[in-house]
Symmetry: C3
Subunit: 382 residues, 3 copies
């Protein structure tokens, strides 16, 4: 029993101190937040919550009061009011530094295509977190910038390729949000140049955000030509997406067609389809996945989700991300809850007599850091 406790405490310390690679996050907000603004940022629901409820009454809300409060110098389990008052008193810069410091990431990959003007950019994140930061480029944002800059239908494909080429000079990965704009149930083959021109003509004439399936496929196939790992939003997100059409199993056709070239495909979040993602990571050599925002949203329940992610995927194919956007609480909780869940799940394997402590440490290190260092060529211990 003494030795069991020693083993678990060693595993706990190793995971606690692991410099995570957060392979998919966004910037933290640089603004002080009202209660209403804060509450809107800790849920995927759109708009203010009904007046008979608060988003603090959720796993994520409870996790903030439990784990973030002490980082800000409060007791755990204070009220939302006390928490937000303390947050306001400290000011956003101090809050960001405290929470990003406590997250203990060793490297961030920051996706810059979502409401980028409302959050700090990669260099700001590097300064706040005091660790290296690299960029993940969102394909649809680049295409929409190309469209906004003025381009003809015939010129779209060329200009997009050029813009993407420029952006990836300093990027480590690309990202597709086709799950939001159409669904993952898309024709897996690349469109022809004529189809692209025709679709670009329609889109440029109609305006609005990019939701044409032909163009979304074209973006993906252009991205694949760069050879950079391509991240896909899958699973839960805000109500802009149809969850049924965000099941990563829908990507099978694309996965099969891209297997010969072998460009890494990284499935993000995946919940509640994370077992599906685990199967794809098992079956195809170039498929990877993480649990992303599912960890901070499931809070005290996240250990069960993490356990399911460890069922059939090879351990070299699983990664960590927080998917934090806005409040630094999300970046911190992504890391903190992942560490706690991994300690509980892997520690359970050890105390059940199924794994050795050394295996548990090794797998935690792979998933938390070395898999992503190798995949994104980040250097450092891999």
């Amino acid at each position: 029993m003494a030795s069991e406790l020693t083993v678990l405490s060693g595993l706990h310390r190793t995971i606690e101190e692991l410099p995570l690679v957060d392979q998919h996050a966004h910037g933290v907000t640089g603004r002080d937040l009202s209660r209403a603004a804060f509450e809107e940022l800790i849920t995927e629901a759109h708009g203010p919550a009904p007046d008979w409820m608060t988003p603090f009454d959720s796993q994520l809300g409870h996790a903030i009061l439990r784990h973030c409060a002490p980082v800000l110098g409060l007791d755990a389990f204070i009220s939302p009011e006390e928490y937000l008052a303390r947050r306001a008193r400290l000011g956003v810069v101090a809050v960001n530094r405290l929470l990003l410091g406590a997250a203990g990431a060793g490297h961030y990959l920051i996706e810059t295509g979502y409401r980028a003007d409302e959050v700090v950019g990669p260099s700001g994140m590097a300064e706040l977190a005091a660790v290296p930061v690299d960029e993940v480029v969102r394909l649809e944002a680049v295409a929409e910038q190309v469209a906004a800059s003025g381009v003809s239908a015939a010129g779209f494909a060329g200009r997009f390729a050029e813009a993407l080429g420029e952006r990836i000079r300093t990027a480590r990965a690309l990202k597709s949000i086709v799950a939001y704009r159409h669904g993952l149930d898309l024709d897996p083959d690349p469109p022809s140049p004529a189809e692209v021109t025709e679709a670009a003509g329609r889109w440029l004439a109609a305006g609005g955000r990019l939701a044409d399936p032909v163009l979304l496929r074209h973006l993906i196939w252009t991205a694949l030509e760069t050879g950079l790992p391509l991240q896909f939003h899958t699973g839960i997100g805000d109500p802009d997406l149809d969850l049924r059409r965000a099941d990563p199993l829908l990507l099978r056709g694309l996965i099969e067609r891209t297997q010969p070239a072998g460009v890494p495909l990284v499935l993000l979040h995946c919940y509640p389809f994370h077992r599906h993602a685990g199967y794809l990571a098992h079956a195809y050599p170039h498929v990877f996945f993480d649990l992303g925002l599912a960890v901070h949203h499931t809070g005290a329940g996240s250990a069960a989700v993490v356990a399911e992610s460890l069922e059939i995927a090879p351990f070299a194919k699983i990664m960590f991300s927080s998917d934090g956007w806005g409040p630094a609480e999300l970046h911190f909780l992504g890391a903190e809850l992942w560490r706690r869940a991994m300690t509980r799940v892997l520690g359970g394997f050890v105390t059940d007599g199924e794994w050795s402590a050394g295996q548990a440490v090794r797998v935690a290190t792979m998933i938390g850091a070395t898999n992503a260092r190798r995949l994104y060529r980040l250097g450092g211990a891999a």
Copy 2:
């Protein structure tokens, strides 16, 4: 350790004594039941079980022998024969009083549209359980009564609206079983009056139960105009339904169209799609859900299902129901197993250091009673 036990025992006592709002149940049977009849009522399968098995060999069967037997004055874990002999000796009225008393609900919402002549009605339930009872009206049953009373195709819509208006004078909610009659994959828009008349003509000529998708949609949209919460059967049920078409994610179109008006939509049962339901409750302000009959059917395994229901849904959007129909064992076990599962799951959050005991008590109270009291305007502590 002493304090941990104290905390858990306090949580246990609070949950044990909570006067639950059972937001979706049916009447108990008023007849004494043969073994064959009892066995048919503790499974969703149709017809008698094959002679090489008994429905007692299931989680629900084990739960009856474990938890109902002591309520009837027997030791736990006696045989099915002993249990049924005792049940027969006591007689159905005494059994109903004992089990409904032990269920400890503070309020029942009774859905009256399923084989209503075989079970006691709302007033009978109020008398047996000695607590207030309100009605939930099944849309399809009302429509079928209208048809049976003689109506023309052109007159159907008006007569249905009239009949529904009459029924809701004393009802707290409406219920759709479109999952059984068609599937949740239905056109989310309301049909035109001409389409309704045409569909009514076809149905009235053909006879039989209502399964026309145009009319089923019309019932739903008529229901929505009343403003009463609308319950939907989703997930498991008897083999009359196609489980693939009972996934609540299929309701997304309807959910989106009804969000502006905000009429509450309540997803019942949901298993094995309860994580999907949790997502919908998270993403849309007017969506609620419960686990219904999944709790008594999963028995000793229900804590895992309850834990999954607590992953991403805001706690203000989750409710309790037993979905009991027939044997009062189902009403009792719905409550008893829910209490045990909640104590185990929330108690685990507390002993893991993730939640405070106060948070656990508060969330149990919300889910077990106050959310439903607010939603259905039942009065009482909310």
Copy 3:
């Protein structure tokens, strides 16, 4: 506490000593295996693993080092190199005898239609395991042998029925891999003789493996006429299948049409759709299922999967199989991990006060042996 330990240790011993009926396995390899060959056989992925990973870094890999190593006379948790060196030193025959002996099955049903020339046949398995072995005949393999032997389109149906009739003289069950060849989303009705002849003409002219949906349906309906239990691959498998189309819920149409005749349908593996399989086993009297290869692939996580399989299915409808093919590690781990998972899950029900120890022993015995003995008429204690 003393009595709780006594109870669990009794349950542990009973499950440990239970002579399992492995209702779906294949032969073990008779060849010594290189590291590369061994690694390809412990994953469902095709081809060699990328050089930056090893399939040993998985639940299955860890389970081999934990549980198989001691069977070969090594300490648990040695390295893959040490394990494979020991395996090579012992030689394949000794390894097979040791692992099959340690598996402790009392009866094997061996499916002979998959790469049969690479593994030992039923009689070889009977000799190695020193227990009775019966055969499961794969429909598609029989049809492909008929085609290879030379047959006309018009003669195909008759020749297939004849060949199947010959094969089932000594077989206990049939097996369909329509999940691989088409998907479970097939027209549930039998094709007409004219359709079969036409489809056979197309297939015989084109050659290749049997993937025509008309013929696949014809095989199933011919199989059903024999009255033998019909096993279906469902859920995970190698990337040859589209997992979305391997959801057993897709079989509902066929299940409904076959219910009157009542030929047993046995859903294999099912993961991650095992809750769907549990529902089908609950709702339909002639549906059975197992977890097959999901147990050895989920390793230390298999208790959670086993627990989910015990949620809503009647206990008389659940069975055990290893789905081992090739390395005898798979046959052994299927059994060993199932025993450990059942002990943990059922033992948990007992220590939680939900089940009696007698119930736990009885259910383990049903699932591990007696259900299959009855279904396949194997004789022995049932």
